[in-house]
């Protein structure tokens, strides 16, 4: 299989893991200190990030870091969306515009 294509598939996989991990860590950070909820979310977040680390190791062997790293910016779209939906953060037009520009920029860095 094409190395580049396989690398991209791994990038998508790690993007999803990162988004779920970040949401878990945020949930942990805002839970009250010492609560069980705080620990559970923390463990879930770290678990996702650890799994992501394994997937990312595969990515780095397949792609150049200057290409692979920017591609993971898809995470910003997923995280922003989930932050609005699940954490009820007010994502205004300015934030979306920022995410859009970052996505466009990283696409250019990735494809350049």
């Amino acid at each position: 299989m094409n190395h580049r294509l396989l690398g991209v598939a791994f990038v998508l996989c790690s993007t999803l893991l990162e988004a779920i991990g970040q949401l878990s860590l945020k949930s942990s950070a805002t839970a009250s200190d010492g609560s069980r909820r705080k620990f559970t979310w923390f463990a879930a977040g770290v678990g996702c990030l650890a799994l992501e680390a394994v997937v990312w190791s595969c990515v780095l062997r397949l792609l150049e870091v200057s290409i692979a790293f920017p591609m993971s910016s898809l995470t910003f779209v997923v995280v922003t969306l989930l932050s609005a939906l699940y954490l009820r953060e007010r994502v205004n037009r300015q934030r979306w515009l920022g995410v859009g520009l970052i996505l466009g920029g990283t696409a250019m860095v990735g494809l350049g």
Binding site: D33, S66, R95, L101, G105, V109
Partner: protein, 135 residues
């Protein structure tokens, strides 16, 4: 300047620290993984990886990042803090060109400018829109 004053200094420092650690992790990880010889066995590859001091350096940086990040998230929106860490894309791109001799094209530099613009838009807004830390 007004926007910068609105954001607590602790959040700014936390974000800056996160970007620096992110960059260091990416570059060290790339070097560590590249040093692993191509073999069929996954176990052999893992064994070769854990023998590298650089790998353990990456682990330590990861743990530091985790502690720092939890602190940042306690005081800022996820949809605010996370996109700002995209500044590390810029430092990784430039440093990988410099240290790893990867070629950076003019399109990539144009992309870097777009990323900067995006971060600027996000950083101008509120850093926290929901309750924050529940003590």
């Amino acid at each position: 300047m007004k926007a910068i004053h609105k954001v607590p200094l602790g959040v700014c420092i936390g974000l800056a620290f996160a970007i620096i650690l992110d960059t260091a992790v990416q570059l060290c990880w790339k070097v560590a993984v590249s040093r692993v010889p191509d073999t069929d066995g996954v176990l052999e590859m893992v064994a070769s990886l854990v023998r590298q001091p650089l790998f353990w350096g990456v682990i330590v940086m990861f743990l530091t990042q985790l502690a720092n990040w939890i602190k940042v998230l306690g005081r800022a929106d996820l949809s605010y803090a996370q996109p700002i860490t995209s500044l590390s894309y810029i430092s990784v791109c430039i440093l990988s060109a410099f240290f790893l001799h990867e070629v950076v094209s003019w399109q990539q530099y144009a992309g870097i400018i777009l990323i900067l613009a995006g971060v600027w838009f996000i950083s101008r807004g509120e850093h926290q829109t929901v309750g924050g830390t529940v003590e």
